[in-house]
Symmetry: C2
Subunit: 340 residues, 2 copies
């Protein structure tokens, strides 16, 4: 192809066999145009590779039809933990259904947050979906200053900006995991935490304590939501308390790391030590040896719900005021497999 | 925090103990300001959460300090194949070093490319890095029409728009893999292809044919660069040619899928069948059983080089004219482990 002239809206209208006004209505949102005509115009747009003059259009509609997703994690973690892929998939599904572009803003860590704030303030997106916040995270404040409507994934720290968020019942799910282990007759139930600068990890630790009490701090070891963190923490626990008979791990990756450390010491799962994870990531729990009993959270659904909530606010249907009634906590379910 | 006023440049200057003019120079690029002062201003910017008025700034500089990365794959593949994570890591490293925001544009497949084109045309980024193009991909044309400077990862089809690209020596690497298998005394070397609508897969198939000739089409099975594609193709090959004694797989994920199918049939690697992959993804090749002999390509380096090339063009140092001398082909290396 060597033609460098941009195709015009007139060319689109001619190819679709509709008036310029109809083609324009479809290109700018499609309200009040019959579906078969919308389809014809869309096909013509695709065939010609028509690109509307977005700058002009944004001036009129003040919409970019683009939503930023901000993940406050280095991309090594974003890509290593299928949790993020699944949440992004939920978001992407919802945004695509509403013809919004997903704009993923990657950072190398919190020192990059100011740059993300600048991009958000630059008028490139209509709103933001933010997940994986940490303790004292500057992101909520940066996003508020940028003036971009936002919905958060995961409960923020109580002392940060009030926000509208979608979260799982981390504390309730953890309680159910530990109660299940006790019901199996286990008496020395250990816990490997997640990264405790995140509320999801803190909430799961609280749920564990709700059930076992504060009795034995030797049974709690610190992980970081990664495979290697789980492996290391499990070794620590076994050195300290070789008599433990169950472990509740803060997520599935951590649990699989723990399984490896248990195998390395010649311990059988679940006969010697029962193990429960959190997340229910198919790619992990069904391949693990043995298949992992875990607390299922609806990660895909969280992503979808976040996107839906934001789009509805942008349409003006449901403003994002941050009363607690405006946030959503999704229930979790224990899924039994072979490890506990 | 309850203060909703944006911090001003004056406040930044006061906190840093510099003049407003100096603070402004740092915020707008830092040319000609002594490094210790730059550091003080940056700290003040961070402390106050100062966000420059990007719209005003873009009007003057016509820069967004943001680069789009467009991956022409559904996000399920982007997240399942560590190839993309590594390439993004290379890009991210380079962009961060030059204080540019990485803007990842996810699509659900080629029907979404028009939307990506609109976002690119909307003036939200200074340039684009594009990878994983397919046969007849509309992206190069959309990007040209959007008027955004772009560097491509992977050689485009010969009949598409001329582009500046960075690629690995896929054909040469494949030749080396097959020659290695022949040097081990193997005589019936099979090939599992990648997704043949991508030039990387087509080039590796050509490299295989360069060495073995077209003799036995029964020894070629079609994969798609995924684990399951490799497993399925290996079963096909074994049904067709149970006497095969070596396999060159188009990438590491494919090779690991093939290893599983071989194990399932009770065949030993490398004694019965020798296996070579392509990529050298640490997370895969060292965990596989047995560890995988593979053709290493410098994926991180490709990402870095793409970003470096684009930033240099944006600075005006090296224009992106698409002569072939302007593209880069990186060499590959055979890495021997236990599988061949």
């Amino acid at each position: 192809m060597t033609d460098t002239a941009r195709p015009t809206l007139e060319a689109v209208a001619a190819l679709a066999g509709v008036s310029r006004a109809t083609a324009s209505r479809v290109v700018n949102g499609g309200d009040g145009v019959r579906p078969p005509l919308v389809e014809r115009v869309r096909q013509a747009v695709e065939e010609l590779g028509y690109v509307p003059n977005q700058a002009a259009r944004s001036l009129v509609t003040r919409r970019h039809d683009a939503i930023a997703v901000v993940v406050a994690e280095p991309e090594t973690r974003v890509f290593a933990d299928p949790f993020f892929a699944l949440q992004l998939r939920g978001i992407s599904k919802e945004l695509t259904a509403h013809d919004n572009q997903l704009v993923l803003l990657l950072t190398e860590g919190r020192h990059d947050h100011a740059r993300v704030g600048r991009y958000l303030a630059g008028g490139h997106v209509d709103g933001a979906l933010v997940f994986s916040l940490h303790l004292d995270d500057p992101l909520p404040a940066l996003i508020r200053r940028a003036g971009v409507p936002a919905v958060f994934g995961g409960r923020p720290e109580p002392d940060t900006e009030p926000t509208v968020y979608v979260d799982s019942d981390n504390r309730g799910g953890a309680r159910e995991a530990v109660r299940h282990l006790l019901a199996l007759g286990r008496t020395r139930v250990a816990h490997i935490t997640g990264a405790l600068d995140q509320t999801s990890a803190a909430d799961r630790l609280d749920g564990y304590r709700d059930v076992v009490g504060d009795a034995d701090p030797g049974l709690v070891a610190h992980g970081d939501f990664t495979y290697f963190g789980g492996e290391r923490a499990m070794r620590e626990l076994l050195d300290r308390r070789p008599d433990l008979d169950a472990v509740f791990a803060a997520n599935d990756l951590t649990a699989v790391g723990a399984l490896r450390a248990l195998r390395e010491r010649g311990l059988r799962v679940p006969q010697d030590v029962a193990v429960v994870g959190f997340d229910d990531m198919q790619a992990i729990v069904e391949q693990s040896d043995p298949p992992l009993t875990t607390v299922r959270q609806d990660i895909l659904g969280m992503g979808q719900l976040m996107a839906r909530r934001l789009l509805s606010a942008l349409r003006g249907d449901e403003p994002l005021d941050s009363g607690s009634s405006n946030s959503v906590i999704l229930p979790t379910t224990l899924v039994r497999r072979a490890s506990a």
